[in-house]
């Protein structure tokens, strides 16, 4: 569906994107996870053709020129900045953009209604955008990307600066869009968003892709072992036959498969008074790959 091959982009001395390659499959949600300045937005701009790469190539549905109108017609883009006209109403913003995509008047009415319904803004359709809250603007920003019903969505940090309610709504809608079979490229620096929404994640830093796989495999490959810590109801009679370290009633185990190990321990007759599971996540993956935390 989307193919990036050895993409490079420099701004003077700064290398924003440094020879990255990846493929986004049809119908999957592909995450670009990395800190600010990792090159995620530049990558999206290269994909959509608003930036010209210094090297490498992009292909979308076999088309190698992303500036081609037929390619643009297939892409819905929600920029990181809230790209709306404050003095226009929500509906006017949508219809203006819809007209640029060549929608007829009937299509415009229908699509605008659907987009506003989807983002929960139907009751504010006639209000000027400057009167909206940050969360509402974010939702409308997403709605604008959907107005022409594109099969491909490029969402650049779509939940930055929004309230929890709007964030959850946006998550729900993106999951719904994924279920509808859209191909989504989603950039974020929030671990939980990537883990929740993305089928596969590319971890980016300093313009390079450090790792790319499903969330589970990334954790498995780069996250290190999970830690099970527990206080047992009674010290085991034969601690030597059990995995982990046992000191009296205290139990500690490092493992790659924590859930399987917990099931095995229960089968061995261990009873827990307290239990804590420290499972590796993408934050740990990033830490292990770069030596620093994602939000440093």
């Amino acid at each position: 569906m989307i193919q990036a091959d050895n993409l490079r982009k420099r701004y003077g001395a700064l290398t924003a994107v440094d020879g990255i390659s990846f493929e986004v499959r049809s119908g999957e949600t592909f995450g670009l996870l990395g800190p600010n300045g990792a090159g995620k937005t530049t990558t999206l701009n290269l994909l959509v053709g608003t930036l010209t790469p210094d090297g490498g190539s992009v292909s979308i549905n076999g088309e190698t020129d992303p500036t081609n109108a037929s390619v643009r017609q297939q892409i819905g883009y929600a920029p990181q900045a809230i790209a709306l006209y404050g003095e226009l109403t929500a509906e006017e913003n949508l219809t203006f953009l819809g007209r640029l995509y060549g929608l007829s008047a009937r299509q415009l009415r229908e699509r605008a209604r659907q987009a506003l319904d989807l983002t929960g803004l139907s009751d504010r359709r006639q209000d000027r955008v400057r009167t909206f809250s940050g969360g509402m603007k974010r939702r409308l920003n997403l709605a604008c990307a959907l107005i022409h019903d594109p099969p491909v969505l490029l969402l650049d940090e779509p939940t930055v600066g929004v309230d929890p309610q709007s964030r959850n709504l946006i998550f729900d809608k993106i999951e719904w869009l994924r279920q509808q079979g859209r191909t989504i490229v989603y950039t974020t620096h929030y671990i939980e968003e990537a883990q929740r929404l993305c089928d596969r994640v590319a971890i980016m830093d300093h313009g390079r892709i450090l790792a790319l796989d499903t969330v589970g495999r990334l954790i498995e490959q780069h996250g290190g072992k999970s830690v099970i810590e527990a206080e047992l109801q009674e010290a085991p009679a034969d601690p030597a036959g059990l995995p982990g370290v046992i000191e009296g009633a205290r139990f500690r185990l490092e493992t790659d498969r924590p859930l399987e190990e917990l099931a095995r321990l229960a089968g061995l007759g261990l009873r827990f008074r307290t239990l804590r599971l420290d499972q590796a996540d993408l934050e740990v993956v990033f830490l292990n790959l770069t030596g620093r935390r994602l939000r440093d």
Partner: protein
């Protein structure tokens, strides 16, 4: 074309909802035209009156009559006062001048009332223009007064008798000349006696000068009112307002991110820029038509050459739409573009006749104004309003405006393309 119109319509809608920009585009130019038009208007304006003092040092009826005549002048504001006060006020700059009327000069011949009084004008020597103007007004008043006396038969006869008596006592006058003058006065007296003495009126050889006013409408090289100067200026101010508003909106789109959204849409960069240019062109033309209509309907601004006016308005629209693009890339933020934009536009206006009318500019400033498109805009509009430009005459300003517009648009679009990466 459809997408172009969609983008232009969006920009015009945004402009119509921006009250601040609308003020600068429509209201401010109109206020400028009305304010300066009213100030410079010759009709009913007091600003042209010279404030002077009148000093009657002779105490004669003739002097009083002359002062009355000065007071009747619409060009003068006269206050009677003693010489000391008059000198003090003139010295303090609170009055332009004083006119002191003294005894007739004592000469060798006395002609009675025809003998000219002694008139002194006290004025700062630096006020050369006012001095000459005042001298003319005093002379006019004297002869108007004399004419008035001569057209009154009874008063004229009284003055003739006084004059005859004066001639009898003027021994220094050669006898032959004295006799000729006496014959002239007697003849005048006899003529006056032929009138109906009761009415004291009638035809007189000194009847009012009949000046016939003829309007020459074939030549229109001069403005008929100050509004014919201020409305073209105001129109250019409106265009500067449009230029600023759209340049600001372009850089605003870039900083807010809507520019990126437009670029992601299935429209080319050329279409986006053309849409912006079309919107600013439509705004320029709309503002121009609005101000010209107000000027025509409410203030009698002549539109002597409608085709020429259309050429001027279109040329101005192209020029300032091009400048929109160039000014929008002068900075990367709205603040920097606002600062640089207003700076450049104000200088353009200052040297181009937006503040000082072209027709009263000193020669050096007129030469400098050639570098400002504002000058060519005003010139083309004035050409269609009162300068009587033919289409051939219009080619120079219109051509310059079109060239500036195309060059500015190309340069701005090129810089913008490079900035977009």
């Amino acid at each position: 074309m459809g997408r172009l119109i969609v983008m232009a319509a969006k920009d015009l809608r945004l402009l119509s909802r921006d009250k601040f920009s609308l003020f600068w585009v429509l209201v401010f130019p109109l206020l400028m035209a009305l304010f300066f038009g009213a100030i410079f208007s010759s009709e009913g304006a007091d600003v042209a009156r010279l404030n002077i003092a009148a000093v009657n040092e002779s105490g004669t009826a003739a002097a009083a009559g002359l002062i009355e005549q000065l007071e009747k002048s619409s060009a003068l504001s006269v206050r009677r006062m003693p010489r000391d006060s008059a000198e003090a006020l003139v010295a303090a700059g609170r009055l332009v001048a004083y006119v002191a009327i003294g005894e007739p000069q004592k000469g060798t011949h006395t002609m009675g009332p025809w003998e000219p009084p002694s008139i002194e004008i006290g004025i700062d020597p630096a006020r050369k223009a006012e001095a000459g103007y005042l001298q003319g007004l005093v002379t006019e008043a004297y002869f108007t007064r004399l004419q008035s006396t001569m057209t009154n038969a009874a008063q004229s006869r009284q003055w003739i008798h006084t004059g005859l008596a004066g001639l009898d006592s003027a021994r220094s006058l050669p006898g032959k000349q004295r006799q000729v003058l006496k014959d002239l006065l007697v003849a005048l007296d006899n003529y006056n006696m032929t009138f109906d003495s009761g009415s004291q009126k009638g035809p007189s050889p000194f009847a009012d000068l009949n000046i016939r006013m003829t309007q020459i409408t074939g030549r229109a090289e001069y403005p008929h009112s100050s509004f014919e100067i201020t409305f073209p200026q105001a129109l250019l101010w409106g265009l500067l307002g449009v230029t600023f508003a759209f340049a600001h909106s372009i850089v605003g789109e870039r900083t807010v991110g809507t520019w990126l959204r437009l670029r992601v849409a299935p429209v080319s960069r050329a279409q986006i820029l053309a849409g912006k240019a079309l919107a600013s062109f439509v705004a320029c033309v709309t503002v121009s038509i609005f101000l010209m209509l107000v000027g025509r309907v409410l203030f009698g601004v002549r539109l002597t050459n409608l085709l020429g006016l259309a050429v001027a308005i279109v040329s101005c629209g192209v020029c300032f739409s091009g400048l929109v693009m160039l000014i929008s890339v002068l900075g990367k933020t709205e603040r920097s573009v606002a600062g640089a934009g207003w700076g450049i536009l104000l200088v353009m206006s200052m040297i181009g006749g937006g503040m000082i009318p072209l027709m009263v500019m000193p020669s050096w400033m007129l030469a400098l104004s050639n570098f400002s498109p504002v000058k060519w805009g005003i010139l083309s509009l004035e050409g269609a309003i009162w300068r009587g430009f033919s289409l051939t005459h219009m080619m120079l300003p219109a051509g310059i405006l079109l060239a500036v517009g195309v060059i500015a648009f190309t340069a701005g679009a090129s810089i913008l393309s490079r900035a977009d990466g």
